[in-house]
């Protein structure tokens, strides 16, 4: 049973997500990697855009 508030989901970014960032225009970025681990070379910064 869902006990929480209603939220709307964005499409799956396909990465293990560790944080957001925001530029001075207010646009949002998603930071993560494809392994979910703290080491490695798969770090990714994605920008949230319209489809």
């Amino acid at each position: 049973m869902n006990k929480g508030s209603q939220v709307a989901s964005l499409p799956d970014p396909g990465i293990a997500l560790f944080g957001f960032a925001q530029d001075n225009r207010g646009e949002l970025y998603v930071l993560g990697n494809t392994t979910g681990l703290l080491s490695g070379t798969t770090g990714t910064v994605l920008r949230i855009t319209s489809r």
Partner: protein, 255 residues
């Protein structure tokens, strides 16, 4: 630990820090392996906001925790389960390495002078809304409820009395658990602006067999108020996301 470095050249195209300029501002006890330091960020006031977990393990109890939970404690020096605000340019703190903004809510009363707000479990990520200046904190829940809080100075965000808007029982020597939804009660605890649980429709646990498509997530990251223009549907919404799930895929949530 919070430390400071200086840039070699503030006008350079590619900014770099001077490794020899390191200056330690503060250290905080780390009683358990988890719920350590989280986000640090400057606010529009030029002060530095620091998110600190409740000391770790579970239920905000056990070694390194005080009896009613670190997050609820305003005992001298207890900064666990809090968001702090300091002035890195000042020197009037107890160790003389940073300043205490004189309008911090606990200056001159019970509670460490550095505390901006309290009652957090693991405020792993937060942002400062560029328009309103509001601190928007993602506070990771224990087993049931993830929450995003719009944080105001001096307020109490509930943990471990509540997990999200639900009452929390620490379980004594056993595992803690939520009991019932209790919005606004007990008085004095601020409920989140956004919360979601770990259970999919039908009662299957997310991370315990529920399909990812039926889950809203586990371990909140966020949140951010969208102030951009490129994604009209997100205008002025608060966005968060989850860090862990059975497929290692993560979703954003905006409300």
């Amino acid at each position: 630990m919070v430390a400071q470095w200086r840039l070699t050249d503030r006008k350079a195209t590619h900014l770099m820090v001077d490794p020899s300029s390191r200056r330690e501002l503060l250290r905080i006890d780390k009683p358990q392996f988890n719920h350590n330091g989280g986000e640090i960020a400057f606010g529009p006031d030029g002060n530095l906001y620091i998110a600190v977990g409740d000391g770790g393990a579970a239920d905000d109890q056990g070694p390194g925790h005080v009896s009613a939970g670190n997050a609820q404690s305003l005992a001298p020096g207890n900064v666990l389960g809090k968001v702090l605000r300091i002035d890195p340019r000042g020197h009037d703190s107890a160790n003389g390495r940073y300043g205490i903004p004189r309008r911090n809510p606990f200056v001159g009363r019970d509670g460490a002078d550095e505390i901006w707000a309290y009652g957090f479990r693991n405020p792993y990520r937060f942002s400062v809304d560029s328009r309103s200046g509001t601190l928007v904190v993602g506070d990771v829940g224990q087993n049931d409820i993830e929450e995003v809080d719009a944080v105001r100075p001096g307020r109490n965000y509930g943990w471990p009395v509540k997990e999200g808007s639900f009452l929390f029982d620490n379980g004594g020597d056993g595992a803690g658990f939520v009991t019932q939804r209790s919005p606004g009660i007990p008085a004095g605890l601020v409920d989140p602006v956004l919360e979601y649980d770990h259970t999919a429709p039908g009662g299957v646990r997310c991370g315990g067999g529920a399909p990812p498509s039926a889950c809203q997530g586990i371990a909140v990251v966020g949140g951010y108020v969208y102030r951009g223009h490129d994604v009209k549907v997100l205008a002025a919404t608060t966005c968060s996301a989850t860090t862990r799930g059975p497929s290692r895929r993560r979703w954003g949530a905006c409300s």
